[in-house]
Amino acid sequence: MENMIDVEKLTKVYGRPGTGTLAVDEVSFQVERGEIFGFLGPNGAGKTTTQRMLTTLLEPTSGRIVVAGHDLRDDAYPVKRQMGLVPEESNVYTELTSWDNLMFTARLYRVPTEEREARARDLLETFGLWEKRDAKTENYSKGMRRRLSIAMAIIHQPSLLYLDEPTPGLDAQSARAIQDLIRELNAQGTTIFLTTHQIEEANQLCDRVAIINHGKIATVDTPERLRQTIQRVQSVEVALEPDGATHGPALEALPGVTTGVKMGDKWRLYTEDPSALLPLIMDYAASQNLRVVSLNTLAPSLEDVFLEITGGQVGTIKHDNPEDKPRGRKPGGRS
């Protein structure tokens, strides 16, 4: 079966080639039909630029994008018909009601007249907006506008949905509702391209993730396999009493600890060998007459992978041998 998206050596230079700013540098990846594909990266890594090229809003400097077998450069129309786009900012018309917003989008995408109202009603009910359908959206909360924005993007039942940072700024309930909706859409067969810097969200939702950094794809894999690539970045989380928070420097100085991070009333100690560190912590607690409230070993999270690849400081291992660097990491990205 053909991929939903094939990207080959996609490049974007803002300004003149040679003197302009290289935002995306020969990026290549594939998105399979029916998967939720996460596109992760720190701010300025090239996420939004890539997504804008995929959605025809930005012209690539070079490279090729094929969506559902159509080359975007000369055959964008059929792609646009089956594509939905939810941008980072909820771009609803605040002067119109949610009903009118949906009717406008349905007409724009040529949804058959006899189906428009039924689909709009279904979506408004699903998104909990039916009761407010006649209110202008300028009076809606951020979460309500977000839900309406998603409803507008799917009223034509696209087979490919782009979501740019769908949940930041929303309360936990709204964020959960949107995540559930993404799963439901995917279960119905919609391929989802999710651009986000919410690592945990990508971990929970995505079949595969790509991590982009400095305009290049650093890695593409399943969240689980990515975690396995940096098994050495494990950690031990310990809470001590009394005054546990003050013992961080001493805990960080224990043999085998590479980094210590204060996590509320606990300390997370990154190490390559948690089993060797545990008795050292217990010995330290005993020597200082401290009570161990909790002691947990943690496997590397997707966030650890992300930070390792993108050069973050928290919880990362210092590699002396370049051969030890995780797969896909850019040379010179971090010492």
Partner: protein
């Protein structure tokens, strides 16, 4: 022509209409549109016509030309940068329709506005000054084609990639004021010096004013068919820079 092509054309016409109707509902009562589109032609008319010996019919012809000119050109520079700022323009650019369809929809918004405001000007002229219309068919054609041409002109400014309407409204207004003074609106073409008259012939407003003179007064200096042709061709040609500016914005990522 196959059915797919005909269906595509039908779809594109319907989409242009959808964009236009949405903009009418969303933007017509915005202060920027009322100021630059509705009030401006009347301000200009009264500023340059009060206390001058101007016949009622001549005044109505002038007001009609002014209202079509100013009102049609007000929509593009206000609506498109506003939509770029709030992000709704991306929704339109990503929709399955051609750029030309989108621009024709946007052109229709300014044209509808101009038709409505010139209708108010016409009603005022007929009801309060008892003005009669010498050639109603030319009046209708002139308002329609003038609205199209000047809406296309406004769209050129609206297509400049910016998110601040003020960035394009001021230069757009300055250009329109410039055209106003070289186009035989306040000084009849017949009274102009040869150099000034040459400049006047370069401005589409000259032909709109001459057409209104034909329609209301029953006489103009240029053949009415030429007036109509120039307005139609101007409207079509002025879409080209808008398309180029949109393509440039897409390449620049603005």
């Amino acid at each position: 022509m196959n059915n797919t092509f005909i269906q595509r054309v039908k779809d594109e016409i319907a989409q242009a209409w959808t964009v236009a109707v949405k903009d009418v509902r969303v933007y017509y009562l915005r202060p920027g549109m009322i100021m630059f589109g509705f009030l401006m032609p009347f301000f200009m008319f009264f500023s340059f016509s009060v206390r001058r010996e101007l016949g009622a019919a001549e005044g109505v012809a002038r007001l009609l030309a002014l209202s079509v000119f100013f009102t049609a050109g007000a929509a593009g520079p206000f609506i498109i940068p506003t939509e770029r700022r709030i992000g709704t323009y991306d929704r339109l650019l990503a929709a399955p329709m051609s750029l030309l369809t989108l621009l024709l929809g946007k052109t229709a918004v300014g044209a509808f506005f101009a038709i409505a405001v010139s209708g108010v000007a016409l009603a005022a002229g007929v009801l309060f000054f008892g003005t009669s219309i010498a050639q109603p068919d030319l009046l209708i054609a002139g308002i329609l084609l003038g609205a199209f041409a000047f809406s296309s002109l406004g769209l050129v400014f609206g297509s400049i990639p910016t998110t601040n309407p003020g960035d394009v409204q001021m230069p757009s207004t300055l250009l329109r004021w410039g055209l106003l003074f070289i186009s035989g609106v306040f000084i009849p073409l017949s009274e102009m010096a040869p150099v000034a008259r040459f400049l006047a012939y370069l401005s589409p407003l000259t032909y709109a004013q001459d057409l209104m003179n034909h329609a209301v007064l029953g006489a103009g200096l240029i053949d009415a068919r030429i007036d109509l042709a120039v307005l139609l061709v101007s409207g079509v040609l002025l879409l080209w820079p808008s398309i180029r500016l949109h393509q440039r914005a897409r390449a620049l990522g603005r």
